[in-house]
Amino acid sequence: MKKIIIVFITIVVLTFFLFSYERNIGNVYFPSFVHKGQVYKAGRYKVKVNEENGNYYFSLFKKGNLVLKELAVVKPVKYSFKGVKKQVLKGKEYFRISFYHNNNLVMGYFYLKK
């Protein structure tokens, strides 16, 4: 039994090294925003973040359908925090989702409709 558990843990650890990062942020309420010239209504979107070719992408889903993908802004930082921050930035220009991962601050900026 112990051997099985050790094998299981080893495989789980290897899995995370071999495969790319993916994070489910959950359902997030967005104010109305603009993306690539298109206006998106305010509402709840399911948000996932995944890594592709070294870049992080925020994927927004509505009713199970992928609505858009937004390239994340990644900034190396020396601090860390748990959880996911969601905030409208000062000046109400952007809605930002951010979290800490691997010494980086991963941020999704969504340009608010004025």
Binding site: M1, I4, V7, F8, I11, V12, T15, F16, L18, F19, S20, E22, R23, N24, G26, N27, V34, H35, K36, G37, Q38, V39, Y40, K41, K46, K48, N50, E52, F61, K62, K63, G64, N65, L66, V67, L68, K69, E70, L71, A72, V73, V74, K75, L89, K90, G91, E93, Y94, Y109, Y111, K113
Partner: protein
């Protein structure tokens, strides 16, 4: 029975189809589960046959199943199945190992084995927990089971990468209430002409399972699929042989909804190493939102909102081609440090400036529109200054430069997406 099959077929025909389904309805492959859940409101059906073709003088089994899955929320899915067990012995060995399994000629009704119902909750795209209950449904006279249910759970860890596939690892435990010694004796006395004294190995015990596997993308339409399932029987008195099943095969995407899995299955029993069996597994599955083609869906499904912005963002102006032109030097977000790539570009420009000693230039610093105007003006100035310092350190006279910061005021590209916004974080050398 015919009506029931007809009903299932009609549902299959009118439903949009699924991509991933385990034998139990929850998303997965064969007896392996994936951490991803079916999205809210979407569903899947599958039909499958898992054949066990044992060596001669041992019972062969056909396990035909119908399964379904439905997304209650984006993170919670229900799944279930009904399976039909059929004994298909060409030599009709009446008292062979699996006495309880009805013969093929005894009819389909009698072969109904279990109804399983599972509830899977995805904690994230990588972790999920699943609970299930398995209800025996057989006619007692020919039953493979008693009326006692089994129940248990699974811990699921998996990763998914759209371009390569899915890999999953499961840990499971089943409290198996299907047979106990008394039930077994009663059953044998009632149903068999020759009473056989039960041995410990005839009694099902709790099971620990470990499964690993997944699917690997070979092309747009073909995946390599595989699953390994190790089952350990927890009651040491029962002396049941630990079991190791392996499935390997291919998954074909017939169109954007339908898929078919075809696999070869090998069953290895660890303990004696002699009683092996082999067979095949075939399933046809459909999903209302195929996972693997979501990338395509991005292009096909138009965004939900329909409001057109009155003031459209103008397309980025094309840079004017000049006889002696300089390239933009790009910076990371909120940074004025020169990257190696930027230094390479600037070294070329050093050559141009040395070749044209009469040329005086203005270095422009630009930013994206994240942050305040004042902050961005200062950041733009720092970027211009960083370029100036680099050029001076490479032998260009300081008197030839002037720096100016535009901050976020002069964007070259669309600022509403990071795909283009990042190119606004730049410095540009312009002839004075």
């Amino acid at each position: 029975m015919k009506k029931f099959i007809l009903f299932i077929l009609v549902i299959l025909l009118i439903s949009p189809l699924v991509l991933i389904s385990s034998e139990y309805g929850n998303s997965g492959l064969f007896k392996l589960f994936y951490a991803n859940s079916i999205m809210k409101g979407n569903y899947q059906f599958s039909l499958g046959l898992d054949n066990i073709d044992r060596q001669k003088q041992d019972t062969d089994i056909n396990d035909f199943y119908i399964s379904f899955g439905y997304g209650l929320t984006d993170n919670l899915e229900i799944g279930g199945r009904i399976n039909f067990l059929r004994r298909v012995d060409p030599d009709n060995l009446k008292d062979s190992y699996y006495n309880g399994t009805p013969y093929a000629h005894e009819g389909f009704y009698q072969g109904v084995g279990y109804a399983d119902f599972g509830l899977k909750f995805s904690l994230s795209d990588n972790f999920a927990v699943r609970g299930f209950i398995s209800m025996p449904m057989s006619d007692k006279d020919v039953a493979v089971t008693t009326t006692k249910p089994a129940f248990g759970g699974n811990l699921i860890v998996s990763t998914k990468k759209s371009k390569t596939g899915i890999f999953s690892v499961n840990l499971g435990y089943t409290f198996n209430g299907r047979l106990n010694k008394t039930d077994y004796i009663n059953y044998m006395q009632k149903n068999l002409t020759t009473f056989v004294v039960p041995t410990a190995s005839d009694i099902l015990t709790d099971e620990f399972t470990f499964a690993a596997g997944g699917q690997y993308r070979l092309s747009n339409r073909v995946y390599l699929i595989g699953t390994a399932l190790y089952t350990k029987y927890m009651n040491s008195e029962a002396n049941q042989e630990d079991c190791f099943d392996v499935w390997a095969g291919f998954q074909f995407l017939l169109n954007k909804n339908w898929k078919i899995n075809i696999a070869y299955k090998k069953n290895l029993l660890f303990t004696d190493g002699l009683a092996t069996s082999q067979g095949g597994a075939v399933s046809i599955v459909y999903n209302s939102v195929p996972e693997a083609i979501k990338e395509k869906v991005v292009k096909e499904v138009k965004p939900i909102p329909v409001i057109k912005e009155e003031k459209e963002t103008p397309p980025p102006p094309k840079p004017v081609v000049k006889p002696l032109s300089f390239e933009d030097t790009y910076f990371a977000f909120d940074s004025y440090e020169l990257t190696e790539e930027a230094k390479t570009i600037l070294l070329k420009e050093v050559k141009d400036l040395k070749a044209h000693p009469e040329l005086n230039v203005v270095i422009e610093g630009h930013t994206c529109n994240i942050g305040t105007n004042a902050y961005n003006l200062a950041l733009g100035e720092k970027r211009a200054q960083a370029v100036k310092d680099f050029l001076i350190s490479n032998g260009i006279e300081p008197a030839r430069f002037q720096t100016i910061s535009y901050g976020e005021e002069n964007p070259k590209y669309d600022n509403t997406t990071e795909e283009t916004r990042r190119f606004n974080r730049r410095a540009y050398i312009k002839k004075r």
